[in-house]
Symmetry: C2
Subunit: 137 residues, 2 copies
Amino acid sequence: MRIGELAERAGVSTRTLRYYEARGLLPARRSVNGYRVYGDDDLRLVEQIRTLQDVGFGLEETRPFVECLQAGHPAGDSCPASLDVYRRKLAELDVLIGELQAVREQVGAQLVRAEAELPRGPEPLCELGRAGQDEPG
Amino acid sequence: MRIGELAERAGVSTRTLRYYEARGLLPARRSVNGYRVYGDDDLRLVEQIRTLQDVGFGLEETRPFVECLQAGHPAGDSCPASLDVYRRKLAELDVLIGELQAVREQVGAQLVRAEAELPRGPEPLCELGRAGQDEPG
DNA sequence: CGTTGCCTTGACGCCGGGGTCAACGTTTAG
DNA sequence: CTAAACGTTGACCCCGGCGTCAAGGCAACG
């Protein structure tokens, strides 16, 4: 099949496929006229890349999976190098999630604190209202 | 003070300060020769921006805080608009953290599954029989 | 007077993952 | 023969938050 068909079958743009090729992830045979020619194996490669991309893996991180498939293994994660990527990703995610949770706590605390301040004295010039808890309206 | 001193005091580069100005976050008076001139208030503005940036707020998200300080309020989050940014950020964080946790579970499951496969049959073609040609030499 | 060091604006580079032309070649249907 | 619908390479654009020159102005010191 040619690039248009592969693109449609994989649900990506032709630009994306050429980009993958430029990155060395998706080698293509060429027909006489220079057109890229792909097989069903290549569809599997692209699907593997997309699956990983969709959950947040960078292109470079998909490389071991792609090479694993290219080596004839049944799945992209049938190779130790791919498992290492999984493990590194898990570690990264744990760190990231932890940081985000810390930020969440911090922002949440700031919000609570600021909300407590607001109704009493939003403006320093409103010192008048501070003498007595007098709410207009 | 001039830009170099403010940069040093705030712990940022002069480039950063000019960038903030270009983004409309940090207005600067000019001396006769065209040099930017800042006051202590401006240091507080920059500190507010950095504090928010450091926990992951985008520059645009710091705008309400900056405007709040510029309006003479005691803190950047002394204004309702700032609190709204806090709330939106919390919501964003919750969504993001949730997504990342889902991804984490998914990747973790994949890892466990793939690890279970690996030691038993990393190369099915190998176990099924080496019907290939022998390596010469 | 020169040198050093601060300041000015302007402009390009980076990173990831492509989008979107442009300009041109090829194949196929009518 | 022409036009449509594919394909090719090359090159610029996007986003955020600056880093890093480049070329020049201005101030202070000796």
